[in-house]
Protein backbone atom coordinates (compact mmCIF):
# COMPACT_ATOMS: atom_id res chain seq x y z
CA UNK A 1 0.00 0.00 0.00
CA UNK A 2 2.99 2.29 -0.42
CA UNK A 3 2.02 4.92 -2.88
CA UNK A 4 5.02 6.33 -4.71
CA UNK A 5 3.62 9.24 -6.63
CA UNK A 6 3.91 9.60 -10.36
CA UNK A 7 4.26 13.13 -11.59
CA UNK A 8 3.10 15.08 -14.55
CA UNK A 9 4.82 18.41 -14.67
CA UNK A 10 4.24 21.66 -16.47
CA UNK A 11 7.20 23.14 -18.32
CA UNK A 12 7.70 25.71 -15.56
CA UNK A 13 7.70 23.13 -12.81
CA UNK A 14 10.06 20.99 -14.79
CA UNK A 15 12.54 23.85 -15.26
CA UNK A 16 12.31 24.75 -11.58
CA UNK A 17 13.04 21.19 -10.50
CA UNK A 18 15.87 20.78 -12.91
CA UNK A 19 17.42 23.98 -11.54
CA UNK A 20 17.10 22.67 -7.97
CA UNK A 21 18.83 19.44 -8.97
CA UNK A 22 21.62 21.30 -10.76
CA UNK A 23 22.17 23.67 -7.85
CA UNK A 24 22.32 20.80 -5.37
CA UNK A 25 24.73 18.80 -7.51
CA UNK A 26 27.00 21.81 -7.98
CA UNK A 27 26.97 22.47 -4.24
CA UNK A 28 27.76 18.80 -3.49
CA UNK A 29 30.69 18.88 -5.89
CA UNK A 30 32.14 21.94 -4.18
CA UNK A 31 31.58 20.68 -0.64
CA UNK A 32 32.94 17.21 -1.36
CA UNK A 33 36.09 18.73 -2.84
CA UNK A 34 36.59 20.95 0.23
CA UNK A 35 35.98 17.99 2.54
CA UNK A 36 38.48 15.80 0.68
CA UNK A 37 41.11 18.57 0.95
CA UNK A 38 40.48 19.09 4.64
CA UNK A 39 40.66 15.36 5.29
CA UNK A 40 43.89 15.08 3.37
CA UNK A 41 45.41 18.01 5.28
CA UNK A 42 44.37 16.38 8.55
CA UNK A 43 45.73 13.03 7.36
CA UNK A 44 42.43 11.35 8.16
CA UNK A 45 40.71 8.92 5.84
CA UNK A 46 36.98 9.32 5.41
CA UNK A 47 35.08 6.95 7.71
CA UNK A 48 32.72 6.05 4.89
CA UNK A 49 35.55 4.89 2.64
CA UNK A 50 36.80 2.68 5.50
CA UNK A 51 33.63 0.68 5.34
CA UNK A 52 33.59 -2.63 3.51
CA UNK A 53 31.62 -1.82 0.38
CA UNK A 54 31.66 -5.34 -1.08
CA UNK A 55 28.14 -6.13 0.00
CA UNK A 56 26.63 -2.95 -1.39
CA UNK A 57 25.25 -3.33 -4.87
CA UNK A 58 24.73 -0.36 -7.10
CA UNK A 59 21.12 0.25 -7.99
CA UNK A 60 20.46 2.00 -11.28
Amino acid sequence: DDDWVKLKLSKGQFEHRRRLMEEWNAWRKRVEKELAEERENAGIVSPSSRRDDDTIEVIE
Partner: protein, 329 residues
Amino acid sequence: MRPILLQGHTRSLTQIKYNREGDLLFSVSKDQVVNVWYSHNGERLGTYNGHVGAIWTVDVNSTSTLLLTGSADNTAKLWEVQTGKCLHTWEFKTAIKRVAFSEDDAMALAVTEQRMGYPGTVVILSIKNDIETEQSDEPINIIYPKGSKAMAAEWGYLNKYIITGHEDGSVAQYDWKTGDQIKSVKAHNAEITDLQMSEDRTYFITASKDKSAQIFESNTLNHLKKYMTDAPLNSAAITPIQDFVILGGGQDAMQVTTTTMRQGKFECRFYHKILEDVEVGRVKGHFGPINTIAVHPDGKSFSSGGEDGYVRVHHFDEDYFRFKYPELH
Protein backbone atom coordinates in the same frame (compact mmCIF):
# COMPACT_ATOMS: atom_id res chain seq x y z
CA MET B 1 7.42 -3.52 2.01
CA ARG B 2 6.52 -5.85 4.87
CA PRO B 3 7.56 -4.38 8.20
CA ILE B 4 9.10 -6.37 11.03
CA LEU B 5 7.62 -5.47 14.40
CA LEU B 6 10.09 -5.45 17.27
CA GLN B 7 8.32 -6.15 20.55
CA GLY B 8 10.70 -5.66 23.40
CA HIS B 9 9.65 -2.41 25.01
CA THR B 10 6.72 -1.71 27.29
CA ARG B 11 6.79 2.07 26.97
CA SER B 12 7.42 4.65 24.29
CA LEU B 13 10.61 4.59 22.26
CA THR B 14 12.90 7.59 22.61
CA GLN B 15 15.74 6.85 20.18
CA ILE B 16 16.91 4.11 17.83
CA LYS B 17 20.30 3.86 16.16
CA TYR B 18 22.02 1.53 13.68
CA ASN B 19 25.69 0.66 13.97
CA ARG B 20 27.99 1.56 11.07
CA GLU B 21 27.60 -1.83 9.35
CA GLY B 22 23.85 -1.67 9.89
CA ASP B 23 23.56 -5.27 11.10
CA LEU B 24 22.59 -4.10 14.59
CA LEU B 25 19.81 -1.81 15.73
CA PHE B 26 19.86 -0.33 19.23
CA SER B 27 16.68 0.95 20.85
CA VAL B 28 16.04 2.87 24.07
CA SER B 29 12.78 3.63 25.79
CA LYS B 30 11.09 5.20 28.77
CA ASP B 31 10.85 1.62 30.15
CA GLN B 32 14.52 1.88 31.26
CA VAL B 33 15.61 -0.91 28.90
CA VAL B 34 18.25 -0.83 26.17
CA ASN B 35 17.69 -3.48 23.49
CA VAL B 36 19.91 -4.60 20.62
CA TRP B 37 18.39 -6.38 17.59
CA TYR B 38 19.58 -8.00 14.39
CA SER B 39 18.27 -5.50 11.88
CA HIS B 40 17.66 -8.02 9.06
CA ASN B 41 15.24 -10.29 10.95
CA GLY B 42 14.30 -8.44 14.11
CA GLU B 43 15.73 -11.06 16.44
CA ARG B 44 16.72 -9.63 19.81
CA LEU B 45 20.37 -10.19 20.68
CA GLY B 46 20.27 -8.86 24.17
CA THR B 47 19.62 -6.08 26.62
CA TYR B 48 21.78 -3.69 28.62
CA ASN B 49 20.49 -3.47 32.17
CA GLY B 50 21.38 -0.86 34.73
CA HIS B 51 19.55 2.42 34.18
CA VAL B 52 16.92 3.27 36.80
CA GLY B 53 15.09 5.98 34.85
CA ALA B 54 13.66 6.59 31.40
CA ILE B 55 16.40 6.33 28.77
CA TRP B 56 16.40 9.26 26.36
CA THR B 57 19.29 8.58 24.05
CA VAL B 58 21.71 6.04 22.60
CA ASP B 59 24.76 5.98 20.33
CA VAL B 60 27.26 3.34 19.25
CA ASN B 61 30.89 3.90 18.25
CA SER B 62 32.06 3.32 14.67
CA THR B 63 33.62 -0.08 15.42
CA SER B 64 30.48 -1.31 17.24
CA THR B 65 32.39 -2.11 20.43
CA LEU B 66 31.02 0.61 22.71
CA LEU B 67 27.50 1.78 23.40
CA LEU B 68 26.65 5.03 25.17
CA THR B 69 23.26 5.76 26.73
CA GLY B 70 21.78 8.73 28.59
CA SER B 71 18.94 8.60 31.08
CA ALA B 72 16.55 10.47 33.33
CA ASP B 73 18.43 8.79 36.20
CA ASN B 74 21.03 11.56 35.69
CA THR B 75 23.67 9.21 34.32
CA ALA B 76 25.32 8.37 31.05
CA LYS B 77 26.51 4.78 30.80
CA LEU B 78 29.12 3.19 28.59
CA TRP B 79 28.52 -0.48 27.71
CA GLU B 80 30.52 -3.18 26.03
CA VAL B 81 28.33 -3.99 23.01
CA GLN B 82 29.28 -7.67 22.83
CA THR B 83 28.82 -8.64 26.48
CA GLY B 84 26.30 -6.12 27.80
CA LYS B 85 28.69 -5.21 30.59
CA CYS B 86 28.49 -1.64 31.92
CA LEU B 87 32.03 -0.27 31.63
CA HIS B 88 31.50 3.17 33.12
CA THR B 89 28.86 5.47 34.58
CA TRP B 90 29.12 9.25 34.45
CA GLU B 91 26.96 11.01 37.02
CA PHE B 92 25.33 14.38 36.39
CA LYS B 93 22.99 16.75 38.23
CA THR B 94 20.17 16.35 35.70
CA ALA B 95 18.90 13.99 33.00
CA ILE B 96 20.93 13.23 29.86
CA LYS B 97 18.81 14.01 26.80
CA ARG B 98 21.26 13.30 23.99
CA VAL B 99 24.59 11.52 23.51
CA ALA B 100 26.77 11.26 20.41
CA PHE B 101 30.20 9.83 19.66
CA SER B 102 32.61 12.01 17.71
CA GLU B 103 33.57 10.84 14.21
CA ASP B 104 36.86 9.38 15.49
CA ASP B 105 35.22 7.78 18.59
CA ALA B 106 37.72 9.56 20.86
CA MET B 107 35.08 11.80 22.42
CA ALA B 108 31.39 11.90 23.10
CA LEU B 109 28.99 14.70 23.84
CA ALA B 110 26.22 14.54 26.43
CA VAL B 111 23.39 17.09 26.48
CA THR B 112 22.22 17.64 30.06
CA GLU B 113 18.70 18.80 30.90
CA GLN B 114 18.06 22.24 32.37
CA ARG B 115 16.38 22.19 35.76
CA MET B 116 15.92 24.63 38.62
CA GLY B 117 19.38 25.65 39.76
CA TYR B 118 21.10 23.84 36.90
CA PRO B 119 21.56 25.24 33.40
CA GLY B 120 21.35 22.88 30.44
CA THR B 121 24.84 22.03 29.21
CA VAL B 122 26.70 20.06 26.58
CA VAL B 123 29.43 18.03 28.26
CA ILE B 124 32.38 16.84 26.18
CA LEU B 125 33.65 13.48 27.44
CA SER B 126 36.88 11.71 26.64
CA ILE B 127 36.29 8.11 25.51
CA LYS B 128 38.91 5.38 25.59
CA ASN B 129 38.01 2.73 23.07
CA ASP B 130 40.14 0.06 24.72
CA ILE B 131 37.61 -1.66 26.98
CA GLU B 132 40.31 -2.65 29.49
CA THR B 133 41.23 1.00 30.11
CA GLU B 134 39.42 2.94 32.80
CA GLN B 135 37.37 5.90 31.54
CA SER B 136 37.93 9.38 32.91
CA ASP B 137 35.18 11.04 34.97
CA GLU B 138 36.65 14.45 34.23
CA PRO B 139 35.06 16.05 31.16
CA ILE B 140 37.20 17.68 28.48
CA ASN B 141 34.92 20.71 28.57
CA ILE B 142 31.44 21.84 29.52
CA ILE B 143 29.56 24.10 27.12
CA TYR B 144 26.90 26.43 28.51
CA PRO B 145 24.72 27.30 25.51
CA LYS B 146 23.54 30.89 25.34
CA GLY B 147 19.83 31.54 25.79
CA SER B 148 17.67 28.56 25.04
CA LYS B 149 18.66 25.05 26.18
CA ALA B 150 20.00 22.45 23.75
CA MET B 151 17.67 19.58 22.77
CA ALA B 152 19.93 17.70 20.35
CA ALA B 153 23.54 17.92 19.25
CA GLU B 154 25.99 16.37 16.82
CA TRP B 155 29.68 16.53 15.91
CA GLY B 156 31.02 18.16 12.78
CA TYR B 157 33.40 16.22 10.55
CA LEU B 158 37.01 16.08 11.80
CA ASN B 159 35.62 17.30 15.15
CA LYS B 160 35.69 20.86 13.78
CA TYR B 161 32.78 21.96 15.99
CA ILE B 162 29.56 20.68 17.45
CA ILE B 163 26.12 21.62 16.17
CA THR B 164 23.30 22.13 18.65
CA GLY B 165 19.53 22.33 18.14
CA HIS B 166 17.62 24.34 20.74
CA GLU B 167 14.27 24.64 22.47
CA ASP B 168 13.62 28.05 20.87
CA GLY B 169 14.16 26.60 17.39
CA SER B 170 17.65 27.98 16.89
CA VAL B 171 20.61 26.02 15.58
CA ALA B 172 24.13 26.87 16.71
CA GLN B 173 27.71 25.92 16.11
CA TYR B 174 30.01 25.68 19.16
CA ASP B 175 33.76 25.42 19.54
CA TRP B 176 33.94 22.44 21.92
CA LYS B 177 37.51 23.35 22.98
CA THR B 178 36.64 26.84 24.21
CA GLY B 179 32.90 26.46 24.74
CA ASP B 180 32.33 29.57 22.61
CA GLN B 181 29.43 29.92 20.22
CA ILE B 182 30.73 30.35 16.68
CA LYS B 183 27.42 30.92 14.87
CA SER B 184 23.71 30.73 15.50
CA VAL B 185 20.66 30.91 13.25
CA LYS B 186 16.97 31.03 14.05
CA ALA B 187 15.93 27.93 12.15
CA HIS B 188 12.51 26.95 13.48
CA ASN B 189 9.56 28.61 15.22
CA ALA B 190 9.32 25.92 17.88
CA GLU B 191 11.52 23.42 19.69
CA ILE B 192 13.96 21.29 17.73
CA THR B 193 13.33 17.61 18.43
CA ASP B 194 15.97 15.90 16.31
CA LEU B 195 19.19 16.64 14.49
CA GLN B 196 20.84 14.06 12.23
CA MET B 197 24.01 14.41 10.18
CA SER B 198 24.44 13.39 6.55
CA GLU B 199 26.86 10.51 6.07
CA ASP B 200 29.86 12.81 5.49
CA ARG B 201 28.63 15.36 8.06
CA THR B 202 28.74 18.24 5.55
CA TYR B 203 25.03 18.89 6.10
CA PHE B 204 22.35 17.96 8.61
CA ILE B 205 18.60 17.79 9.03
CA THR B 206 16.55 19.19 11.89
CA ALA B 207 13.02 18.20 12.93
CA SER B 208 10.80 20.58 14.88
CA LYS B 209 7.49 20.90 16.67
CA ASP B 210 6.79 23.73 14.18
CA LYS B 211 5.79 20.93 11.73
CA SER B 212 8.79 21.40 9.49
CA ALA B 213 12.16 19.79 8.90
CA GLN B 214 15.11 21.67 7.42
CA ILE B 215 18.53 20.99 5.99
CA PHE B 216 21.53 23.21 6.76
CA GLU B 217 25.11 23.26 5.60
CA SER B 218 27.28 22.29 8.59
CA ASN B 219 30.20 24.68 8.03
CA THR B 220 28.16 27.82 7.38
CA LEU B 221 24.72 27.02 8.87
CA ASN B 222 23.36 28.21 5.52
CA HIS B 223 19.78 27.10 5.07
CA LEU B 224 19.44 24.65 2.17
CA LYS B 225 16.05 22.93 2.27
CA LYS B 226 12.71 22.99 4.06
CA TYR B 227 9.96 20.35 4.26
CA MET B 228 6.52 21.43 5.49
CA THR B 229 4.12 18.93 7.04
CA ASP B 230 0.83 19.19 8.97
CA ALA B 231 1.95 17.71 12.29
CA PRO B 232 4.63 18.42 14.89
CA LEU B 233 7.77 16.44 14.02
CA ASN B 234 9.86 14.35 16.41
CA SER B 235 12.43 12.95 14.02
CA ALA B 236 14.00 13.42 10.59
CA ALA B 237 16.51 11.29 8.73
CA ILE B 238 18.41 11.43 5.43
CA THR B 239 18.41 8.37 3.12
CA PRO B 240 21.39 7.07 1.14
CA ILE B 241 20.86 5.79 -2.47
CA GLN B 242 17.72 7.83 -3.02
CA ASP B 243 17.61 11.61 -2.48
CA PHE B 244 14.89 11.41 0.15
CA VAL B 245 14.31 12.48 3.72
CA ILE B 246 12.05 10.61 6.14
CA LEU B 247 10.00 12.59 8.64
CA GLY B 248 8.01 11.32 11.61
CA GLY B 249 5.91 12.80 14.37
CA GLY B 250 2.25 13.33 15.10
CA GLN B 251 -0.06 15.02 17.55
CA ASP B 252 0.42 13.93 21.15
CA ALA B 253 -1.77 11.05 22.32
CA MET B 254 -4.09 13.35 24.27
CA GLN B 255 -5.15 15.13 21.09
CA VAL B 256 -5.61 12.00 19.04
CA THR B 257 -8.99 10.36 18.54
CA THR B 258 -9.26 6.72 19.58
CA THR B 259 -10.20 5.77 16.01
CA THR B 260 -6.90 7.06 14.69
CA MET B 261 -5.08 5.30 17.51
CA ARG B 262 -6.69 1.96 16.66
CA GLN B 263 -5.99 2.14 12.96
CA GLY B 264 -2.24 2.59 13.19
CA LYS B 265 -2.40 5.66 11.03
CA PHE B 266 0.74 7.39 12.16
CA GLU B 267 2.97 7.72 9.16
CA CYS B 268 6.59 8.11 8.22
CA ARG B 269 6.58 10.61 5.38
CA PHE B 270 9.06 10.63 2.55
CA TYR B 271 9.98 13.89 0.81
CA HIS B 272 12.34 14.43 -2.06
CA LYS B 273 15.45 15.86 -0.43
CA ILE B 274 16.34 18.22 -3.26
CA LEU B 275 12.89 19.14 -4.60
CA GLU B 276 11.56 19.94 -1.09
CA ASP B 277 7.82 20.19 -1.78
CA VAL B 278 7.48 16.76 -3.37
CA GLU B 279 6.10 14.16 -0.99
CA VAL B 280 7.04 10.83 -2.56
CA GLY B 281 5.44 8.36 -0.18
CA ARG B 282 4.12 7.44 3.25
CA VAL B 283 4.56 4.39 5.44
CA LYS B 284 1.76 3.80 7.93
CA GLY B 285 1.72 1.56 10.95
CA HIS B 286 2.32 3.12 14.33
CA PHE B 287 -0.54 3.52 16.81
CA GLY B 288 0.82 6.75 18.22
CA PRO B 289 3.26 9.53 17.32
CA ILE B 290 6.57 8.50 15.79
CA ASN B 291 9.36 9.51 18.13
CA THR B 292 12.49 8.38 16.34
CA ILE B 293 13.59 7.36 12.84
CA ALA B 294 16.88 5.80 11.73
CA VAL B 295 18.01 4.76 8.26
CA HIS B 296 20.16 1.71 7.62
CA PRO B 297 23.59 2.91 6.38
CA ASP B 298 23.16 0.96 3.12
CA GLY B 299 19.90 2.80 2.42
CA LYS B 300 17.91 -0.39 1.85
CA SER B 301 15.82 -0.24 5.00
CA PHE B 302 14.81 2.07 7.81
CA SER B 303 13.27 1.81 11.26
CA SER B 304 10.88 3.87 13.30
CA GLY B 305 10.23 3.89 17.04
CA GLY B 306 6.87 5.04 18.34
CA GLU B 307 5.03 6.37 21.31
CA ASP B 308 3.16 3.03 21.04
CA GLY B 309 6.22 1.13 22.31
CA TYR B 310 6.99 -0.59 19.01
CA VAL B 311 9.94 -0.47 16.67
CA ARG B 312 9.04 -1.14 13.04
CA VAL B 313 11.77 -2.22 10.62
CA HIS B 314 10.92 -1.61 6.98
CA HIS B 315 12.88 -3.10 4.10
CA PHE B 316 12.30 -1.12 0.93
CA ASP B 317 10.83 -2.97 -2.03
CA GLU B 318 11.95 -2.68 -5.66
CA ASP B 319 9.55 0.19 -6.39
CA TYR B 320 11.43 2.31 -3.91
CA PHE B 321 14.76 1.85 -5.70
CA ARG B 322 13.22 2.26 -9.16
CA PHE B 323 11.59 5.51 -8.16
CA LYS B 324 13.14 8.49 -9.91
CA TYR B 325 12.32 11.48 -12.01
CA PRO B 326 13.14 10.35 -15.54
CA GLU B 327 12.80 13.86 -16.89
CA LEU B 328 15.47 15.11 -14.48
CA HIS B 329 18.11 12.50 -15.31
